[in-house]
Amino acid sequence: MITIVDYKAGNLTSVRLAFEHLGVPVRVTDEPAQVRDAERVVFPGVGAAASAMATLGSFRLVEALRAVAGRGVPFLGICLGTQIILERSEEDGGVPCIGLIRGRVRRFEFDNPRIKIPQMGWNAVRRLRPHPLFEGIPDASEFYFVHSYYPDPAEPSERLAETEYGGFSFASVLGRQNVVATQFHPEKSGRLGLRLLSNFATWNGQC
């Protein structure tokens, strides 16, 4: 059973439908106790870091997320969920975040006005380290991105894959022990995105 954390940041329908398509049972919850006891966690989200952190705080989910990740269960962050498991975001003047992975979230800055923000669309994900999440997925395959900020993990070994946008490379997949996180949306990335979710659903949480 996969526990999808619902903290009112964006639409969870696609994530739920993707796992249903794979035949993986899911429960969607905003209850800290259910998150704490989960055997496998998906932490999605779309939107702004400050309001997401405020909502997580009001639902008492921050401690539950730290506790469940600390127990070593497989944990997958997606998009905003990936950003706010870092320590801090530059968004909204600076927001302290959950801190499952050391590092920061930064805003894209481009001198060339032709580079559109947000990055919206399919971009190649180039592998830096092997990981069970990538099983059966050709290197440099494209996945679907929508974001104006990017994760910048402090520890180079925690960058599992990178993506180039506007001449700049950022970490598009992060991983530390039982925690993995993608800046792109696997649930909207077609067959290869479904494969990544299916890999996560069977992953034992070890690299």
Partner: protein, 259 residues
């Protein structure tokens, strides 16, 4: 490198995909879910569905169809037609759509763009606009006037000014559908697409006039579109998405290669 997107457009009338020229002479083409799944298998990057009779019939969008599509495909899709409130937007997104397209509604009530962006994030709000060539350059400095209600009404809005205003209000993307080119299959309106794409920092989707892979190559290479909508040229079976992408690759335009 971010790839350029190919987006099939499915106009829905009475639960069936139809295709007309300038909203006239509609011919029925097939079942939306089956067609969407087929285009996904052929490598399309995104889809857009317009419920073209919802507004005229004063009924809400067909939510059951949106749910069926969301169960069948796992790539982003936008939905337009029959949306008049933030509650309508919410229902469409919760049914599994990634984006909502607003067109006539946004002209009548521009605040809906800001309200939608605030409620769901700007990436969910697509402004669709249907500009027509206008000779009066004093009133329409860009040379294009925005029309609404399926090209039937003129609005007095300059297309470029409206695009910039929509970006300020919070639109996450703009679909520029040329009235003059729509359904002609003689190529996109390149000048219009380039004008708007160069003036805003959000992605611009070119629409109207695609008749061959060469037209699609042109709109990316010469008009800086971020994505292109195709309809008739693939609905008739004359071209496949793969054929379009092969032409793009040949021209050095980045495309998604594996799906």
């Amino acid at each position: 490198m971010l790839t350029k997107r190919i987006i099939p457009c499915l106009d829905i009338r009475n639960k069936r995909v139809t295709k007309g020229v300038k909203f006239q002479n509609n011919v029925e083409l097939g079942d939306p879910v089956t067609m969407a799944a087929g285009y996904c298998a052929d490598g399309c990057d995104e889809l857009v569905f317009y419920d073209i009779t919802a507004s005229a019939e004063r009924r809400p969008i067909d939510i059951e169809m949106v749910k069926e599509v969301a169960r069948a495909i796992h790539i982003p899709f936008a939905v337009g037609g029959g949306i008049s409130t933030v509650q309508d937007m919410s229902r469409v997104l919760l049914a599994g759509a990634e984006k909502i397209s607003v067109n006539s509604l946004a002209v009548m009530n521009p605040a809906i763009i800001a309200e939608g962006a605030r409620a769901f994030g700007r990436q969910c709000i697509v402004l669709g606009m249907d500009p027509v060539r206008a000779g009066d350059l004093v009133r329409f400095p860009s040379g294009y006037e925005v029309t609404i209600r399926g090209f039937r009404e003129r609005t007095g809005l300059d297309a470029l000014a409206w695009a910039k205003r929509a970006e300020e209000l919070g639109a996450g993307e703009i679909v520029v559908n040329s009235v003059d080119a729509d359904g002609t299959r003689r190529g996109f309106e390149l000048a219009l697409t380039r004008l708007i794409s160069e003036a805003v920092r959000i992605p611009v989707v070119a629409s109207g006039g695609a008749g061959s892979p060469a037209h699609v190559v042109e709109v990316f290479r010469d008009a800086h579109a971020d994505a292109a909508i195709v309809a008739g040229m693939i609905h008739t079976g004359e071209y496949t998405i793969q054929a379009i992408k092969a032409a793009m690759t040949e021209a050095g335009i980045p495309v998604r290669r594996v799906w």
